[in-house]
């Protein structure tokens, strides 16, 4: 048996079309519990689309995706169950601007997990402390810097105590001086044993934190391997070419 229960995400031959455009062309990828996988590739290669199919923000039209033993189908209950187990951090933060930082974080635990306010706030304050912005709890997102907002977004996702965290280009919208504070929070999370899929071009982060790198191009996986394999012995020409473009 190649697929043990250690695989928390199993994707088999996943296809996705936008109208006529074939965005995902048979993606198969298994991810183990506690594994940190960095997905990279040129824009339009389908890497974001792929991680968005894992919590069903995008629907796949062929193939199979099984997350923590639950298959993603059109059954809305399965989708909602999976979304409670999978946290996501977006490029544009997507914090709720009408709620304070604390309310952003406690909203889902209180309404979905039915926690008491006291329990949810305790958890939120603990998470804010962990991402290093305890003092901002009662501000609104619009009053924070980009880096702080993204750390709130990480705390918001973690508040649901997910088993998997998805990061969709979490540092691409940030000013350069704020990238490190977000990557530090992500590194800390990776070291705590969280299963993570990160779409990013931060190759320093990939080299030091990722267990595995996956290179996407034209809707499919071109090559994957450990950071050492990818950076030092890439097999495919497309991988070599792309790496030479981003690692000046």
């Amino acid at each position: 048996m190649s697929e043990s229960t250690a695989d928390i995400i199993i994707a088999r031959d996943v296809h996705k079309w936008y109208d006529q455009f074939h965005a995902l062309r048979g993606v198969s990828l298994n991810i183990k519990r506690g594994e940190v996988v960095v997905v990279f590739g040129p824009s339009g290669s389908g890497k974001s689309t792929f991680i968005r199919t894992i919590n069903r923000l995008e629907e796949h039209q062929r193939g199979q995706i099984i997350v923590d033993g639950i298959e993603l189908t059109n059954d809305i209950r399965n989708i909602e169950k999976i979304r409670q187990e999978v946290g996501m951090v977006f490029q544009q933060f997507n914090l709720f601007p009408h709620l304070t930082v604390l309310q952003n974080i406690t909203l889902a635990p209180m309404w979905v997990r039915k926690w008491s306010r006291a329990q949810a706030e305790e958890k939120a304050r603990e998470l804010l402390k962990r991402v290093g912005i305890s003092e901002q709890a009662n501000k609104f997102p619009g009053q924070l810097s980009g880096g702080q907002q993204q750390r709130v977004a990480i705390a918001r996702a973690l508040a649901m105590e997910p088993k998997i965290m998805l990061f969709d280009e979490p540092t691409s919208a940030l000013d350069p001086e704020m990238i490190k504070e977000v990557l530090d929070a992500m590194t800390d999370l990776a070291e705590s044993g969280m299963t993570m899929i990160v779409v990013t071009h931060e190759m320093g982060f990939a080299r030091s934190v990722a267990h595995r790198l996956v290179f996407f191009d034209t809707g499919s996986i071109v090559e994957q391997g450990t950071p050492h394999e990818i950076f030092h012995q890439p097999q495919e020409d497309r991988t070599k070419k792309f790496l030479s473009q981003i690692l000046h």
């Binding site: 946290g87 977006f90 997507n94 609104f140 619009g142 977004a153 996702a157 649901m160």
Partner: protein
């Protein structure tokens, strides 16, 4: 690292451009000869307006108002039952007082304005019993404030406001041993406010539902909402009002009659809801997709996403446009005069035709225009305050 530090650039004050009143006049009103001509022409127009107004104010005879005050306020509401209207106003004043203590901000302005109205009215030539009532209102304002201040019962206050609408309606209509006062007897400002408040309170939720339904993924619901909105927006309000007068009875089982005022309320609600729906749709569309994606990603279902994330932002963004709709609803209630209902405008035209007061139409219409203006500008002011209060942390 170099240790020498550059001194920080000095912070300077902005240059002074003021050169006194004469300079201001020259710069803004008489910068060129053409500008000067316009200024003088505008001054002449202002002079004409002011002198005309002065002429009117000095020759006006307000007896037509004082003689018809009761009609203008409550219409044909039976004299011996007017205490019920007065009690309703006292209830309202009490709640405003309590809101002042608990919510502050906008409620405080409302309470002060209301208190000022009662105080000035108490100075005007009213009868002793009316003066007692006006002072009772001031007492209610104070009592409401005290109760609110010492209990600070936020949740109770919200429920009290919600409950006040049906309580006031029952009190006006008559409940228990009280003699019934059919709504067809309500008139004047009482009827105008009843139409406007019921219209606003009913069209808001209906309009939000229609806007949400228009975005629905269920084709039947979507088609129904689009059909409703487009149909209603395609016809004039007065035809909707006439249709309701004629057609509502056809839709109801035999034996059930609906009072004409209620038919008018239904008409206003149906009409305004379609416009509210379009305003809210604009608000819904202005919310970025990422908001609902983020809400779904943390596990909220569709209904919670809408209620907790999308609608609060969409409604806040549309407050000015929505209040604009409510203001036009408030002013359009005057159309019921055409249906033969005696609202403020209907009473006014009746009073203007009384033989005793021939030639005094201007006073009557200026008076009711002032009333409409006070309410409409209060709503407009309230919306701006509300917008600012809710705009905290806006990005």
């Amino acid at each position: 690292m170099a240790t020498q530090t550059q001194p920080l650039p000095e912070i300077l004050k902005p240059p002074i451009t003021q050169v006194g009143a004469v300079g201001w006049l020259r710069k803004n009103l008489f910068s060129t000869w053409l500008n000067g001509v316009f200024t003088l022409a505008a001054l002449y127009v202002i002079f004409l307006l002011v002198s005309g107004l002065w002429n009117f104010v000095t020759t006006a005879d307000w007896n037509v108002i004082t003689a018809n005050m009761r009609l203008l306020m409550v219409g044909r509401y039976p004299v011996e039952q007017i205490w019920r209207v007065q009690v309703c106003v006292v209830i309202f004043t009490f709640l405003v007082g309590a809101s002042w203590a608990i919510w502050r901000g906008l409620a405080r302005s409302a309470a002060i304005a209301l208190g000022a109205v009662f105080l000035t009215a108490a100075i005007l030539p009213f009868t002793a019993s009316e003066r007692v009532w006006l002072l009772a209102n001031l007492a209610a304002l104070g009592a409401g404030f005290a109760v609110g201040y010492f209990t600070n019962a936020r949740r109770v206050l919200v429920w009290a406001w919600l409950a006040s609408l049906p309580i006031i309606a029952l009190l006006l209509y008559g409940v228990g041993d009280m003699p019934r006062v059919a709504s067809d007897l309500w008139g004047g400002l009482l009827l105008t406010l009843a139409l406007a408040i019921v219209g606003i309170a009913a069209s808001f939720p209906l309009g939000v539902l229609l806007a949400v339904g228009r975005q629905s993924t269920y084709p039947v619901i979507r088609a129904f909402c689009i059909g409703y909105i487009e149909l209603v927006r395609g016809v004039p309000l007065i035809t909707v009002l006439f249709m309701m007068q004629l057609m509502l009875p056809l839709f109801l089982p035999e034996g059930i009659t609906v009072e004409r005022v209620v038919r008018a309320m239904v008409g206003f609600t149906i009409f305004t809801a379609a416009y509210i729906a379009e305003v809210v749709r604009g608000g819904l569309q202005s919310i970025p997709r990422g908001q609902s994606e983020a809400a779904r990603a943390v596990g909220l279902n569709g209904a919670l996403t809408l209620l907790l994330i999308i609608l609060p932002q969409a409604l806040r963004a549309t407050i000015p446009a929505m209040v604009g709709q409510f203001i036009s609803l408030f002013k359009d209630t005057s159309l019921v005069a055409i249906l033969g209902l005696l609202d403020l405008a209907g009473i006014a035209s009746a009073a203007a035709n009384q033989p005793d007061f021939l030639g005094r139409q201007a006073e009557v219409y200026v008076f009711i225009a002032a009333i409409y203006f006070c309410f409409a500008s209060a709503m407009s002011y309230g919306s701006r305050r509300l917008e600012r209060t809710l705009g905290v942390g806006e990005r």
